[in-house]
Symmetry: C2
Subunit: 126 residues, 2 copies
DNA sequence: GACAAGCCACTACACATGTAGTGAAACAGC
DNA sequence: GCTGTTTCACTACATGTGTAGTGGCTTGTC
């Protein structure tokens, strides 16, 4: 029952890059992230090592001997974990106030509102 | 334009206690939090000092010379900041996917769904 | 086969956070 | 007025995070 590893903010950026496209090598990831993070390659390597220690990613040697990295946990599961943690910390675990908060603090289009109402209805029947 | 200070998890617990009831002295807070956190009083004092440095709370001497603490920022503003940060980090700033996520991952009562739909409608007219 | 270039494991170091301990100052009782 | 209790400022110290630097091993090239 692989519990979801807790990732820091920088680590999350790496995870996003890997969920977006994997496997990637360390230098590929460095290039992928350069526009947003501008990290030195060693920074990327350090974060990769930490993510491996946490069990968030795995590696495999590719044919040429260099290592590639790929997620060990699904993005959806991690998002759920982060969401659950946020829900607990800030809203004491109560989903409705959270939903009210974001509904009120976001400018939604009429189309989005329609779809959200549909999803709310569905949530009652599942 | 007081920007909202960034508070750690432990610090947030203290803030909650103060939003709930303030002003409180350090030893009152220690007692208030004992059931949930079981911190030594010095731990509470350290966190209070850090919160003051961050501008999240203020103090005032009460008549007897001991100090009392109270929030310097409104809970609602802090919740908004935390929410905004979460929204950016995990959902790339898109409110609809966030709302979809929590709508689907929470068990809501029919009553709650009704109210949420009402709020969604209102959000279009404000 | 020595050298440059890439890959990697280790190490480094500052700041944040969780969680206190120590020791001085002030006051309360006897 | 000495002593125990409360309050506080300072200091401490481990772990996590952000952000690299160093130096060894491998491999492709003259």
């Amino acid at each position: 029952m692989s519990s979801i590893p807790d990732t820091s903010e920088s680590e999350w950026s790496l995870m996003e890059a890997l969920w977006e496209c994997s496997p990637q090598t360390a230098s590929e990831l460095t290039k992928t992230l350069r526009p947003t993070m501008n990290w030195a390659e060693n920074t990327v390597r350090t974060l990769l090592t930490r993510l491996i220690d946490k069990g968030a990613i795995k590696t495999s040697e590719n044919s040429s001997g260099t290592r590639t990295y790929l997620p060990a946990v699904k993005r959806e599961a991690c998002v759920r974990a982060k969401g659950e943690s946020f829900l607990q910390r800030i809203f004491g675990g109560a989903a409705k106030p959270l939903l009210v908060h974001f509904a009120q603090n976001s400018k939604l289009t009429a189309e989005e509102v329609r779809e959200l109402k549909r999803i709310l209805d569905q949530s009652l029947h599942s």
